[in-house]
Symmetry: C2
Subunit: 326 residues, 2 copies
DNA sequence: GTGAAAGCGCTAACAA
DNA sequence: TTGTTAGCGCTTTCAC
């Protein structure tokens, strides 16, 4: 930095101002500084900035690499964070890296807040974290005080799915659920109340599964073993739905001819031409923005009460749902 | 840190030693320091460490969030890096975050080397980078001097796939390729020479596609339009294979009954029960370890020549390949 | 717009 | 094992 300053013939703090886009330097000087910096290959050192500043300006994001929908959220977090002036520090967890280590490492970077995507952090761990920095959990209603949550209205989302199937003429609608994954409980209860509202109490049936293709595949096999298939299924999420479809199709059961299937998330695979899955859309961009907004409110506006932001889901009708065969 | 030292009744540098696992502190003191640190919630500040040390001890990893196989590699990089004492700084690129920004930000963290996973960095950009720090490219043979590369022998991998199909009795074997994606060129040429070696010159046919499900789906539609289908396909990668299978299956073409399909990567979806895809395995763990080894050789052993590490692929036979229908 | 001075939290080199 | 000293690259404050 000294080199740049010397070469341009200005002071070091002027160079610092320029790089931080602060007022105090003329446009000409600004341009000159940037030009010389480029020439010299100078780049401000993040570590030094973080060390010197009172605040690090970094928000940690804890995520797993396995879920396409989570990946979309991570992607959307970057531009959202940029808009409010925060940098992102990524922490991956998964086999080979437990989330404890990932969190420790993020904290060592002095992150000011943590956004948690995905299901693998226990509530009490979150509570401990929340005592140190603001924590926002995406996709799961947080029962932990001090932790904000951002999610879509899963109750309503499943309601939309069930209504859609009912409108097509289905009555035997099964819910293949997400077990204890984020949002699964709300989706289950949404299914139950929707069925009741539509007068289908006696058709209520929940098959326990999970948020993976393999869980969907297992549920499909179980349904086939059990005897008569339902005419429609609301799956816990898209991955589960895809596992169901793959398994049914392999056994000669046609989707949507023999059975209609609705997914949840409207993640990238749902839109693929040969999948063409009817799904409940959880907008990744909206979730990301809401999460960053929650962070910014805590950090920049001094909010100190928990918030639970609930976004509205939307049903995206595609080719895996049709009227039941008569 | 001062607090911890004071509380234990030792010097600050002793505390520093303990946290860096350096010799010079007795076991008893070590335990006491750790205990008090825990109690006080003390954690060494990474920014300060990086700033002070001559070397940052960080290796950057540039990746996209879209490919399951890349995700597996990222996961495997963590334990590999830990073993040689490096920390990982993740930089995601994708829609919402271009790789230029991602790289800039990693560089600003003073990373000592960069591992690039995936295809989106242009060779001349890599060359520029390689002048600043060691760069390792995973999955693609690097044509850029100064850039190391780690990959599997794609030529051989496809050869194994073609041989397997030939042994089952196939002759009309098509390659649905990966376009200009990493490794695609080698896979194409591997296909050609394998076909020639087996005396199937006249059956050689390459359909241009890409590394995504949708590219596979398009290729499948094109093959169906073209008239007679081949009896077997070697796909550019697993995602492409899955797109092929999905599209064929939807049109009533049975896999492997009507057509056998081999993927490439042996990524997570290949092993799913209802996919059960025969595929060429590229071991993510091995790739990750080799990449870290290459980094460590440059950084710790002073290697200054480029290296190109080629791992051996292995064919994993599953359910999407069978003898052709007579 | 400048220049001087201080210090973020840590590591390193050395002598004790 | 300890204390001392110095300084990583930057931001901040203040008087000019």
């Amino acid at each position: 930095m000294g080199d740049v300053a010397a070469r341009v013939g200005v002071s070091r703090q002027l160079v610092s101002l320029v790089f931080r886009n602060m007022p105090g330097a003329s446009d000409a000087t600004r341009a000159r500084v940037l030009e010389v910096a480029e020439e010299l290959g100078y780049r401000p050192d993040t570590a030094a900035q973080v060390l010197r500043r009172a605040r690090s300006g970094h928000v940690g994001v804890l995520f797993t690499l396995r879920h396409p929908h989570d990946a979309s959220i991570v992607e959307a977090i970057y531009p959202a964070a940029e808009r409010v002036g925060y940098d992102i520090a990524l922490g991956a967890s998964g086999p080979g890296r437990d989330e404890r280590k990932a969190v420790e490492s993020l904290l060592a970077y002095r992150i000011e807040a943590l956004i948690v995507i995905g299901p693998y952090v226990t509530p009490d761990k979150l509570a401990t974290l929340a005592r140190q920095i603001p924590v926002v959990e995406i996709s799961r209603p947080s029962d932990v005080s001090g932790v904000d949550s951002v999610r879509t209205d899963d109750h309503l989302g499943v309601h939309l799915a069930v209504e859609h199937l009912h409108a097509l003429g289905h009555r035997a609608i099964v819910h293949v659920d997400g077990g204890d994954m984020p949002g699964a409980e709300d989706r289950r209860s949404g299914y139950r109340t929707a069925m009741q509202t539509l007068g289908l109490d006696s058709d209520i049936r929940v098959v326990p599964a999970g948020y993976t293709e393999e869980a969907g595949a297992r549920a499909a096999r179980q349904l086939m073993t059990d005897g008569t298939l339902p005419t429609a299924i609301v799956a816990g999420n898209d991955r589960c739905a895809i596992g169901l479809i793959g398994t049914f199709t392999r056994r000669g059961i046609n989707v949507p001819g023999d059975i209609s299937i609705v997914g949840y998330d409207d993640s990238q695979p749902a839109g693929l031409s040969y999948v063409d899955l009817t799904s409940v859309r959880q907008d990744a961009t909206q979730l990301a923005e809401a999460a960053i907004t929650a962070v910014s409110e805590r950090l920049d506006q001094g909010r100190d009460t928990s918030t639970d932001i609930v976004l509205e889901p939307r049903l995206v009708v595609r080719g895996t749902t049709a009227a039941p065969r008569l």
